[in-house]
Subunit: 126 residues, 2 copies
DNA sequence: GCGATGATTCGATAATTCTGGAAATATCGT
DNA sequence: ACGATATTTCCAGAATTATCGAATCATCGC
């Protein structure tokens, strides 16, 4: 992974609606979720949702697959892991001892957490 | 960690110069790096560098500490780990079996990788 | 082929973010 | 207190990004 790709992926996730979409897809797992299902859960207008899905796709974070009339989206876990690795690459100059506290906290963790919230809708910034 | 914080952190990293700064600080480890040292390595004009450092700090990804005339910055590994956890939270609905391929790739990895490149300077977008 | 359903593209508008020079601030050594 | 060094703040211009209605495209069932 190079810096450019990483920036693109981070940028794709750095938006409330898109992060919610992505997390929904991470939760859904390999089976994925149809655009309609996402729209319903997140209450995002179709054109906006489409815009954000395209953005996530452009970044390579999710993939699309037609299923009859529906377009089913699913998280690309490879891409995410690549990003996570990139972020911690060469951590502490490779000095494992200095890095102890960092490595202590596992990055992939199953949470028992609650439902997803829809991102605050039609909220204007600032 | 909540969605808002995650978006802020991701947004802070979703910029070429800032990502380069952050990676430099990750590599530097707890000792950190002075603003001047960062500027020199990345060849970013002082005012721009300051802007980006402030952004990373606002997001809680790095911390600042005065050391005589220098301001020394260092990565906050707690914040990063929190973010990583958030991103993979409730992965595959908590079904470990479905998640096998995801968990297979460790997220924190020591790379033997080469030097950091400075972000393409004064490059205008599009 | 038609109407209905599911979703994307287009386009205009509005808001945010990045950039870097010049001026201001902080600290040090003398 | 002064000059030098290290960095930040202020500012305005330039570029990017988000929003969502209306129009369009794709697929299905009949």
């Amino acid at each position: 992974m190079n810096a450019g790709d990483a920036v693109e992926r981070l940028g794709a996730l750095a938006q409330e609606t898109r992060l919610a979409i992505y997390r929904l897809l991470v939760e859904a797992g390999p089976a994925g979720l149809a655009a309609g299902a996402i729209a319903e859960r997140l209450e995002v207008p179709p054109s906006s949702l489409s815009f954000h899905l395209a953005e996530l796709r452009r970044a390579g974070l999710i993939s699309q697959q037609r299923e009859s009339r529906s377009l089913v989206y699913s998280a690309d876990f490879r891409a995410m892991n690549g990003l996570l690795s990139y972020l911690s690459e060469n951590c502490c100059g490779g000095d494992r001892a200095a890095c102890a506290p960092v490595l202590a906290a596992p990055s992939i963790r199953q949470s028992k957490g609650g439902r997803h919230e829809a991102p605050a809708r039609t909220r204007r910034r600032r």
